[in-house]
């Protein structure tokens, strides 16, 4: 790992200022960034830790939404969102392992947008709003392909606002070595319709399966998905599973999520 300076500001404003320096980078829980630095895939001159910013911590219920501070760990979401949004809490409680959940944050996960990460599926599948230090971004506009998001240089995710669905569930097949999803699907039923978000499967990162959404909005039952399949063309194929296998798993995971949710 190359060396860097380390600062730990107490407010978002101070963090934004520190991130203005050339080659400065935000540090959330470090559960992705520290392994990346060890591999020398990144060489920031300064890390700006967000873990000391109390305004970016915690889970609150605000009317029909759950609002999560951008620096909130997976463990805290698993525990504190369990009543208000059990589908989301269930997802957070199955990320990685307990030690990863004690450090890793929602802001770091969404900023990174790993094509196999869990939170992008919840954010897209809930039609969440990503709140930054400068603006609010709808999840539908936020995810722009693997490891790519609408975030500008130095922009910080301060909050994520999730509309609470009637029912929801996240079904995940873990890749046993990394514990990331091989394929996972988040299904949420709202008064206005059903949303289905798929992670781990596509070369373009998290995506909505619109045919399944249409079918499930008519009839929220696993049977409604009968005969629906996804083409394998854009699916990830690697030593853990072929593109065709992943395309198949999307259907299986969606059916399981619907059955568990309804």
């Amino acid at each position: 790992m190359y060396n860097f300076d380390f600062v730990k500001p107490a407010t978002v404003d101070e963090a934004v200022k520190a991130l203005g320096d050339e080659d400065a980078q935000a540090l959330g829980g470090g559960q992705t960034l520290i392994p990346t630095l060890k591999q020398r895939l990144a060489s920031p001159s300064k890390l700006v830790s967000l873990t000391g910013i109390s305004d970016m911590q915690g889970v609150t219920k605000d009317g029909d939404s759950v609002v999560i501070g951008g620096g909130t760990t997976h463990r805290v979401v698993a525990e504190d969102a369990a009543d208000a949004y059990p589908g989301l809490a269930g997802l957070a409680g199955r990320i990685g392992d307990p030690a990863v959940r004690n450090r890793g944050t929602i802001g770091g996960s969404l900023a990174n947008n790993d094509p196999s990460a869990c939170y992008p599926a919840a954010a897209l599948g809930s039609g969440a709003t990503i709140v930054t230090n400068t603006r609010e971004i709808a999840a539908d506009d936020y995810f722009q392909g693997m490891f790519t998001t609408a975030l500008e240089e130095g922009e910080i995710i301060t909050q994520v606002r999730f509309p609470i669905p009637k029912v929801s569930h996240y079904s995940k097949i873990a890749q046993p070595a990394s514990r990331f999803p091989l394929v996972a699907v988040f299904v949420a039923q709202y008064a206005g319709g059903v949303r289905v978000a798929v992670t781990g499967a596509s070369n373009n990162g998290v995506f909505r399966w619109s045919e399944a959404e249409a079918a499930l909005s008519q009839n929220f039952a696993a049977d409604a998905l009968e005969g629906l399949t996804l083409p394998a063309d854009d699916m990830i194929g690697d030593l853990h599973g072929t593109a065709a296998y992943r395309a198949h798993l999307v259907g299986v995971m969606t059916r399981r999520a619907v059955t568990a949710a309804s």
């Binding site: 060396n3 300076d5 730990k8 060890k38 392992d97 307990p98 030690a99 004690n102």
Partner: protein, 161 residues
């Protein structure tokens, strides 16, 4: 270099570190607490698990400077005050929960974190909780048994398997 101070196993510990110094390096190299092992250095194996402010973390995936002011506990602080093994450590010995012992510090620290949150876990809960702790020797069976025994539960059914 920046000065960092924390409490390690109840004692004040401080030293000069770089930005990139990992918590596990501070513990092992600066404090001489070599019980926390580095098995993978890629955040996978859990041999480096310590508690920071009561929560299990991978000390190879946390910067030493992030632990400024924190209460850290490591395997060296687990034994009873008279030096005898604590309940979890004794159960690992009694149930052969270790062979080479490389993973054991992390296993014991993860087990301690689990039992603090969930004093009577089921076998499935123990196995789930150990997802981030890899053991190349035991096949996990006796580790799970030791943790269930440490929680005061009857392990004779498991022992018979």
């Amino acid at each position: 270099m920046t000065q960092v101070s924390m409490t390690v196993n109840g004692k004040q510990a401080s030293g000069d570190v770089e930005g990139r110094t990992l918590l596990v390096q501070f513990l092992r190299d600066a404090q001489g607490l070599t019980g926390s092992h580095v098995g993978c250095d890629t955040s996978q194996c859990g041999a480096c698990v310590v508690h920071v402010d009561g929560q299990a973390v991978k000390a190879c995936t946390m910067l030493a400077l992030e632990a400024e002011g924190a209460e850290v506990s490591t395997i060296e602080g687990q034994a009873n005050a008279d030096g005898s093994l604590n309940v979890i450590q004794q159960a690992f010995q009694d149930h052969h929960g270790l062979q080479c012992g490389f993973c054991t510090p992390g296993m014991v620290m993860s087990a301690a974190a689990l039992l603090k949150d969930n004093p009577k876990p089921t076998e499935t809960e123990v196995r789930d909780y150990l997802e981030g702790n890899i053991c190349r020797c035991t096949g996990y069976h006796n580790i799970v048994k030791a943790i269930l025994a440490a929680s005061g539960q009857d392990v004779s059914a498991i022992a018979a398997e």
